[in-house]
């Protein structure tokens, strides 16, 4: 029973290799820590003499890449951690000793895992384009938007430690093959001018069409009132306003919306979200501020696939229950103006006519498209470079296919490859297809080939660890732009210049000045910080009624735009730990209680100590993703710091961990910290949690959605809510009073963070896990960056120029 309650928290022991002050002393070692431990406490039963349970620890191998061996070590770690071993009657090891053993086992397991993810043993490595990269590549290759996230798009990519581009994880399933074929058909249809030019049409949904019963609409029309009908869209209307949109031809559509958006004084603006439910895509999500009698017309573009789309028009701000009749629209009594609503409906304006709730008054929505700014489309002109005057024969077809394949494969097309493509063209011609349609079959084959879908590095014929210039161009381009190399990079590769340090340095700097660097600024922090997990446990609406999708998006936006700000201004990475500024928009500033910020756009806002923000660790996104839907999770927060900031994720918790007991309704209100500390009093838990918990408890003054507080609100129990104690002590004995003080200590130890950051950056860039063999190279990258004060752009440059980056 004791072992079941021994570790009731989610995290078990630590396995720290970096020797960070936040993790403890030097890394555990088999010779000094593990071997003696096993000899003293285990071998008597699991040695040559007894081998209980058919386990001998004295002869157990240390090749953790071997699954069976790793499994046995993992079991040993679990048994020790849970207190099951050594048995109760045997001498007990000290907690510190057990921790050292667990650290060593855990480090070995993770090292082996990274080796597997690195796939270093292959002569040729194939790393599939991620969904995001595929979409971007199609955009740059064909000038067409491919809606990769739609249900008809591509499957979601799995991640490894937050990274969604690790080659060994991005496998190819039969579903992928079908999807790639369909995607290729679809994008070529849109990119090429084969057949008649699609007719652009305008569909207008008036408010009356959306809301009013047909018979009543007919009456209103004859009374001359139909045009005056508006749709009053209350907050949180969910699925109440929905209509089918028929799209016959896929393509780019202009969407115009005439509406008013009423904003209560000091409150949130109404927020228009147009959501295509069938493809799970938000077409627009924007605050609208416009008086009732001064409507505005918004215009935006949306790429829409063919089909019937269920369009939901949502006022995406929190509000009363939309299912109540008070919130529901009426189809028999149309809305005309705020002063003439039905008495039983939710009150939208106060007695002086000022808005109470953020409300949308919609006049109409117009869909125009498909838009074709030129015909044939630019991609068609580029592919069929000879224009209409070209001689449409096999020679021309070969040249067309060769040019296209070279761009698509990001390297020169090989003669054999080209022959196969031309053969497809010729077959099609023989079957009676036209010239363009026949070439299209070759183009289709290119888009479905592994050379397009995968980043291929290495050669079976000429094995080499180094990258050639073509491979380097792709690695660089997908690292910084998440898309194919541009013409300049390809040209440098063709000329064999790219690998030259000065050329490479110049290219990195050029690329970081291009708008496409936004892909890195957005994608890297999202993966590094595991922001995909924000909102994974939807905060309870009863406890956090103000939490909604827009706030969640803004929370993530703060972190990604913070990263971008550091990158753009080449600031030191210590800003990630503590800063006197952050990136805010109106809703997040309101959430943080920081006045004077208006609008949706994220902008840099100076902050002071009283704002309790600065750096990544006190951003709502990070605080939210380390919480669950109801409360903060100090242990998760501590684990996240170790994992994302120091690159030393603790091992998974042992099995059969009991949950923390909730506060009894009649018992005194007890803080989460007190409950955790009660568990930590167990000697077997103390060793591990002494390292994890302080890093999480320091952030107790931030609730599950990242709001600052001084008192922990406990719903059950009696007495006053406990005042939060965020103080703690690091394993090296340094003490801190709160999160701010902890951040100061972390800044003092910025080298440790930089070392881990180099690993994260390299994992992202090289699309593989970092191994023991990479440590030296990573240390060099960090050292080079240190010479430039760890400035982020320089850090990136240091990585690209390193030997590591230019090797497979």
């Amino acid at each position: 029973m004791r072992r079941r309650t021994l570790l009731s928290l989610a995290i078990g022991t630590l396995a720290l290799g970096s020797g960070s002050a936040f993790a403890g002393a030097a890394p555990a070692d088999f010779a000094t820590d593990v071997g003696p431990f096993l000899a003293r406490y285990c071998v008597s039963c699991h040695g040559e003499a007894k081998a209980k349970g058919e386990l001998r620890v004295d002869t157990l191998g240390k090749d953790f890449a071997e699954t069976r061996t790793a499994g046995r070590w993992s079991e040993i770690m679990d048994r020790i951690n849970s207190g099951e071993m050594p048995p109760p009657k045997e001498p007990r090891p000290k907690a510190e000793e057990m921790v050292r053993v667990s650290e060593w086992i855990s480090a070995q397991i993770m090292g082996a895992e990274a080796e597997r993810r690195a796939s270093l043993g292959e002569k040729v490595s194939f790393r599939r384009l991620s969904r995001e990269e595929y979409r971007n590549t199609i955009r740059d290759l064909l000038g067409v938007t491919f809606d990769a996230d739609d249900p008809a798009g591509l499957p979601e990519d799995p991640d490894w430690q937050g990274f969604e581009r690790v080659g060994s994880v991005l496998t190819l399933s039969p579903a992928h093959i079908e999807k790639y074929l369909a995607a290729a058909e679809s994008v070529l249809d849109e990119a090429l001018a084969i057949g008649a030019r699609p007719k652009s049409e305008v569909t207008r949904w008036s408010a009356a069409k959306l809301r009013v019963r047909d018979d009543i609409a007919a009456e209103l029309a004859t009374r001359g009132l139909l045009d005056q009908v508006r749709a009053d869209i209350v907050p949180n209307n969910g699925a109440l306003d929905a209509r089918d949109l028929q799209i016959a031809t896929p393509g780019e559509y202009a969407v115009r919306v005439k509406l008013s958006g009423l904003r209560p004084e000091g409150g949130r603006a109404a927020r228009l979200r147009i959501y295509a439910a069938d493809i799970g895509r938000t077409l627009i999500d924007r605050d609208v501020i416009a008086a009732e009698d001064q409507p505005v017309t918004l215009e935006f573009r949306a790429h829409l696939p063919a089909g019937t789309h269920l369009i939901r028009i949502v006022n995406a701000v929190p509000g009363p229950n939309p299912e109540e009749r008070a919130s529901r629209p009426l189809n028999y009594r149309p809305f005309f103006r705020m002063s003439a609503r039905q008495p039983w409906q939710i009150k939208l304006t106060d007695d002086s006519g000022k808005p109470i709730w953020p409300t949308i008054l919609l006049d109409w929505i117009e869909w125009e498209g498909p838009l074709q700014e030129s015909w044939p489309p630019p991609a068609h002109k580029r592919i069929f470079f000879g224009g209409e005057s070209a001689t449409k024969d096999v020679t021309y077809a070969r040249e067309v296919l060769a040019r296209f394949a070279t761009r698509a494969y990001r390297r020169p097309v090989r003669p054999g490859e080209l022959d196969r493509l031309v053969a497809l063209y010729e077959n099609s011609r023989r079957l009676g297809e036209g010239f363009e349609a026949s070439v299209r079959t070759g183009l289709l084959a290119v888009l479905c080939s592994h050379s397009f879908l995968f980043l291929v590095e290495g050669s079976a014929e000429h094995p080499s660890l180094g990258l050639n210039d073509w491979e380097l161009a792709s690695r660089l381009s997908y690292f910084l732009w998440s898309t194919m190399p541009d013409d300049r990079l390809l040209d440098l590769a063709r000329r064999g210049k790219l690998h030259e340090p000065e050329t490479l340095r110049a290219e990195v700097r050029r690329m970081m000045g291009e708008p496409r660097i936004a892909a890195f600024a957005e994608s890297f922090p999202r993966q590094w910080l595991q922001l995909r997990r924000v909102g994974m446990f939807q905060p309870d609406r009863k406890i956090y009624p103000e939490y909604d999708e827009y706030l969640e998006k803004s929370m993530v936006g703060e972190s990604t735009s913070f990263f971008r700000e550091v990158l753009t201004h080449d600031l030191p990475i210590r800003e990630f730990l503590a800063s006197d500024w952050t990136m805010l928009n109106a809703i997040l500033a309101h959430h943080y209680g920081i006045p004077g910020v208006e609008g949706e756009e994220m902008r840099r806002v100076p902050i002071g100590p009283g704002d309790h923000r600065g750096g990544l660790l006190t951003q709502a996104s990070v605080l939210g993703l380390t919480s669950d839907g109801t409360r903060h999770r100090p242990v998760h927060r501590g684990k996240w710091v170790l994992e994302s900031i120091y690159g030393n994720p603790p091992p998974p918790p042992p099995p059969n961990v009991a949950a923390i007991q909730p506060t009894m309704p009649n018992g005194p209100k007890t803080s989460l910290r007190a409950k955790i500390e009660a568990h930590r009093s167990e000697p077997n838990c103390a060793g591990c949690h002494r390292k994890i918990d302080p890093l999480g408890l320091a952030f107790d003054q931030y609730d599950a959605i990242g709001r600052w507080r001084t008192v922990e609100e406990i719903r059950d129990g009696s007495g006053a809510n406990p005042v939060i104690n965020a103080s703690g002590e690091l394993p090296d004995g340094r003490k801190f009073a709160d999160a701010s003080a902890l951040k100061a200590l972390m800044v003092d130890d910025v080298d440790k963070f930089a070392s881990a950051f180099a690993g994260k950056l390299a994992t992202y860039a090289m699309r593989r896990g970092m191994t023991f063999d990479d440590r030296k190279a990573l240390a060099e990258v960090a050292a080079n960056a240190r010479r430039r004060d760890y400035r982020l752009a320089m850090f990136v440059e240091a990585l690209v120029l390193s030997d590591l980056f230019q090797k497979r």
Partner: protein, 685 residues
């Protein structure tokens, strides 16, 4: 106290009183003749003593809309009155609803001027039982049908009794012979000096009052306490409860609603008629945070002000709006009966989708500052654009599409003309004007002519049609042929209750109507006599027009639902015969080569499909030119091929619209065919 105040105010003088009361800034019945009367103000209870008290006999009581009609006892004129939301009725010395008061009772109306200056707004209604002290019965003259009483004002009066006079002792009805000289009596009169009801004995008075009090308490508990909102601050509403302060205090005490601590009430939105929408769904829970006494009382003010905080604010929770409060958890929160509930109107079988204030022209419902809608050539005018005038049809001209009527009350004579799309509804069937008997009171939906006079009749309909359209009938409560009167209650048709059973909603209102020798009674297919009428009969009737002194006399009474249906069916059959002979009236909307689009006219979209009996699919139509009086013009009929409905066929919301448009094609169109031309069309068989 209340009785004394009223007694003080009872004396109504035609001459402005010369007495000056400097404490009052307005004229009263007793003083300040040099000052104007107090005018009702939104959100303000009229001060006690500011009313002009008028005595009258209740002739009609529409207790759903809190309005009615009484005949003044001084000059015999008829007064249409309405109760403001706080208007209070006292009956049998207890608070009451208008429905509790029998028709024919002499009442004291505390009136205020309306926008036209007429005393039609009634803040208080009181009966003699409430106002007067006990009288002493001095003499009983059974043979003469007279009683002598003393102790009232004026004292020493001789009152009449007749066979309708009822006598009460305890809770039982007694006969005049059971009365004794010296009995303490309270009497409600029916007109001057005619006793309607006599309550004998002090204990009888107490029991009667108590019964009425209980009845009213039950009434309030079913509907919630009415109040209006004085103030809205954030989520908090300050409300003042309506009613008699003393009665309200007693009710709250009896219901154990103690204003000493916070408690929860159900707040529902209502309107100025104190009607609610759908309380079981609309109710918002509200915490009563505070209860304060009201310092200055006025008519209708219950003397209690509460500060409440609902869990969600609704549009109806605004300053000046009426809400009802279900003040105790034990009070059942139910819908008002069908017809009384507002929600049944807004979501019912024929909801009016439009707030009249939206119209870009003046209507009977508002926008007085705008001009009226003027019909345009070739366009059917929108519904609600006409001004409704009620009057008695006096003459029908030879052309059958024009005539004359006398406006109710004012007696103004109007010569009217019907445009081609103008429709006549009689006995709930479309018809020709000639079918309406002269002397029938009708509703005229009028547009202005070139001079601005309301003479263009888009619709003319009789009372039978008006009631039938709303699925209303009268139930005969009492026949008083000797007095030349019938007393009726207005009732809804049967409706389905929540268990799908057909039930009769409660009465809609009550009224007295005159009958005379010329009144015809119809029962089944035959004409009957007035003697055939009996209490409980379901009636529809038409009357003559109204004057300042007369509510009109019944011209025809149709007895029983079967008779109503028969009358309508006969009228329809007659109209079908006319149409079959002359064709459907229509006009040409537009022309396109040899094709024309026509709109068929009708006064009722509801009945038109059966009248039309299907489109002439695959067939032809015969069209004859007609003049603006729908009379065919000489010339050969034209055959046209029916092509179907045009895309804009489904028209609605206009006068004269059948809802049907046809697209027709001729081999050759004569010159005389042009947009706007009137036609008579028939399907070719």
């Amino acid at each position: 106290m209340r009785a004394c105040l009223l007694l003080f105010a009872l004396i109504v003088t035609s001459e402005p009183p010369s007495k000056v009361d400097p404490s009052l800034p307005f004229r009263t019945d007793q003083s300040n003749g040099h000052l104007p009367w107090y005018r009702l103000k939104p959100g303000e209870f009229p001060p006690l003593g500011s009313e002009h008290v008028v005595k009258g006999v209740l002739l009609e009581a529409d207790f759903i809309h809190r309005s009615g009609q009484f005949r003044r006892t001084d000059d015999g004129t008829l007064v249409d009155f309405t109760l403001p939301p706080y208007g209070t009725v006292f009956y049998l010395n207890a608070e009451a609803d208008l429905r509790d008061v029998p028709l024919g009772t002499l009442l004291h109306f505390g009136t205020y001027q309306d926008n036209q200056g007429a005393f039609t707004r009634v803040a208080t209604i009181r009966d003699d039982f409430t106002l007067t002290a006990d009288l002493r019965l001095d003499a009983i003259k059974v043979a003469e049908g007279k009683l002598n009483v003393s102790g009232g004002t004026p004292t020493g009066r001789e009152l009449r009794v007749d066979r309708h006079t009822r006598f009460w002792k305890g809770d039982k009805a007694v006969k005049i012979g059971d009365l004794t000289i010296g009995d303490r009596v309270r009497i409600n009169l029916s007109g001057n000096d005619l006793c309607a009801e006599v309550w004998v004995g002090v204990e009888t008075h107490r029991l009667t009052t108590e019964a009425q009090r209980r009845r009213h308490t039950a009434f309030v508990k079913e509907r919630g306490l009415a109040c209006w909102i004085d103030r809205v601050e954030g989520k908090r509403l300050t409300v003042t409860l309506f009613g008699d302060p003393e009665g309200l205090r007693g009710l709250l005490k009896e219901e154990r609603i103690e204003p000493t601590q916070r408690w929860s009430v159900g707040a529902v939105v209502g309107n100025d008629e104190l009607r609610t929408y759908n309380p079981p769904v609309d109710r918002k829970q509200a915490i009563v945070l505070e209860s304060q006494p009201v310092a200055t009382l006025g008519h209708g003010c219950g003397g209690v002000r509460w500060v409440i905080e609902p869990d969600l604010l609704l549009e109806g929770f605004r300053k000046g709006r009426v809400i009802r409060l279900f003040a105790h958890p034990s009070w059942p929160v139910n819908d008002m009966p069908f017809g009384e509930s507002l929600y049944s109107e807004v979501s019912g079988f024929r909801p009016d989708p439009v707030d009249p204030n939206l119209y870009p022209y003046r209507t009977d419902s508002g926008k007085d500052h705008l001009p009226w809608y003027r019909p345009k050539p070739g366009e059917l005018p929108p519904i609600d654009s006409a001004h409704e005038v009620i009057g008695e049809l006096l003459k029908i001209n030879e052309n059958g599409r024009s005539g004359r009527f006398r406006v109710d009350r004012s007696g103004e004579i109007v010569d009217f003309i019907m445009p081609p799309y103008g429709a006549v509804m009689y006995l709930d069937a479309e018809t020709d004007l000639q079918d309406v008997p002269l002397g029938t009171r009708c509703r005229f939906a009028l547009h202005q002519d070139e001079r601005g006079a309301f003479t263009r009749a888009a619709v003319i309909s009789d009372e039978f049609t008006s009631l039938a359209n709303r699925r209303l009938t009268y139930r005969l409560d009492s026949v008083r042929l000797v007095e030349g009167a019938i007393l009726v209650a207005t009732q809804h048709a049967l409706v389905k209750d929540e268990k799908e059973a057909m039930v009769r909603p409660p009465d809609f209102g009550r009224a007295t109507f005159a009958v005379d020798d010329r009144t015809r009674v119809w029962k089944g297919e035959k004409q009957g006599t007035q003697g055939d009428l009996s209490a409980g009969d379901v009636l529809l009737f038409n009357t003559t027009g109204r004057t300042t002194l007369s509510r009109g006399t019944c011209t025809d009474i149709w007895v029983g639902l079967e008779t109503h249906k028969l009358a309508t069916d006969r009228q329809r059959a007659r109209h079908i015969a006319v149409i079959k002979k002359g064709g459907f009236p229509a006009w040409i909307d537009r022309m396109d080569g040899k094709r024309i689009t026509i709109t068929l006219f009708s006064g009722t979209r509801r009945d038109f499909p059966s009248l039309l009996n299907g489109d002439p699919n695959g067939g032809t139509v015969t069209a004859r030119l007609a003049d603006d009086n729908l009379r065919p013009i000489d010339g050969p009929p034209l055959k046209l091929i029916y092509l179907g409905h045009p895309p804009d066929s489904d028209i609605a919301g206009t006068y004269g619209c059948s809802g049907v448009r046809w697209l027709l094609e001729a081999s050759e169109l004569p010159q005389s065919f042009r947009p706007g031309q009137i036609l008579r069309v028939l399907k070719s068989d």
